[in-house]
Symmetry: C2
Subunit: 203 residues, 2 copies
DNA sequence: AATGAGGCATGACAAATGTCATGTCGGTTC
DNA sequence: GAACCGACATGACATTTGTCATGCCTCATT
């Protein structure tokens, strides 16, 4: 009885490579490949998949939301997150969203297949380097609103824009940005955005 | 006589996938794989490669500089650029640096192999979608200094930082940023940076 | 019930940023 | 050679941004 696997990744080349490499394993069968997160839960149900391998960064529905959707729609299906960048914050959020494993993309193919098997058996798989970083970097220090405002700022809008879209006074927006800068250690808004992104605090 | 190919890409999975896919072709032989741009020219010389396949975004030496280095060190070796994002500006700069081809990563494997062959024969290969975008978006409107300052700003530094590192007065820096914003159409520094990056004007 | 901690929200003030008018230099055009 | 154009460079001025003191509200603790 082979493991039925669904793969979602926006980069066609990576998706194809993953499918080809893992499909070679005798005990793994790739039943669906998706280019974004929106259809993942449906595909899992349709093909009664055992494991879903999801990229964190995807257009449409992001990987973490997709993971949550999969868990809701098919609780028996395990989720293994695969990511290009090892942002520590993603790890914790993915786990909270119900993922069973979290590995980075340049893991050797053998270990990827092994990770799929472990996850299928109900074990947890976490890249050790990332786990260590996660402990060091810890959670996001930003409050909900702070993160919200900083995310809006990351699109390059002015304070006035953000204030309007978030229904806040301009002063309040500045205050949140100021707090975000203090907490991230950045000296400018742009720096704060960069630091928060690098740590996976924005998504 | 098979085509001797060198592959450089920072993502191990992609690099492996490219090597595996292209190595399957009977007339292509992958003689070296690199994870960054610094050693590419040396590897090309050492293995007397016919074609170098380079990613644009790489740590260390970027793909475009690496392309130029390859052309200098081994003029008979053709360069094929492969990129994740189709930034129009990269295309032109890559061509000026001596590349013979430019394709995006989610091109089907067959066409990638075909692109390698065409390049090897001395033909030029350009992704048609990208070529069209390149004509629309055109060249970077930024002058040398404007680009330089905008690039410095993209790292999140303050005006004072940039002024010091570029040996310019603060007023001058502000002026360049202002010009860059006007030319990109961005209303803030951050927006200008984003637009310039998306168009491949910064690298 | 009182206390205190923390998130949310705001406005006044200081500091940084963005805009503009101006000037120099080197190359092109007439 | 004169006139012109564009890139480079600067300082003065208006606008925007970042900091701070303050107040309100909720929730957990005493």
């Amino acid at each position: 009885m082979s493991i039925r696997l669904v793969i979602a990744d926006d980069q066609a080349l990576v998706r194809g490579a993953l499918a080809a490499l893992l499909g070679l394993e005798p005990d793994i069968e790739v039943v669906a490949e998706l280019g974004d997160g929106t259809g993942v839960a449906a595909a899992v149900v349709e093909h009664s998949a055992d494991v879903a391998m999801l990229d964190v960064e995807m257009p449409g529905l992001d990987g973490i939301s997709a993971a949550a959707a999969v868990r809701r729609a098919a609780p028996q299906c395990r989720v293994l997150m695969v990511t290009t960048f090892g942002r520590p914050g993603y790890l914790k959020r993915a786990m909270q969203a119900g993922a069973s494993g979290f590995v980075v993309k340049d893991t050797p193919a053998r270990q990827l297949a092994e990770a799929v098997r472990r996850v299928h058996q109900g074990l947890r798989v976490v890249d050790p380097v990332l786990a260590a970083e996660s402990l060091t970097a810890g959670d996001s220090p930003l409050t909900e609103r702070e993160g919200e405002v900083l995310k809006a700022a990351s699109d390059g809008g002015t304070v006035a824009d953000i204030a309007k879209s978030a229904m806040l006074s301009e002063g309040t927006v500045r205050n949140y940005l100021s707090a975000a800068m203090a907490k991230t250690g950045g000296r400018t808004r742009a720096e704060a955005v960069r630091i928060a992104e690098d740590n996976g605090w924005l998504l």
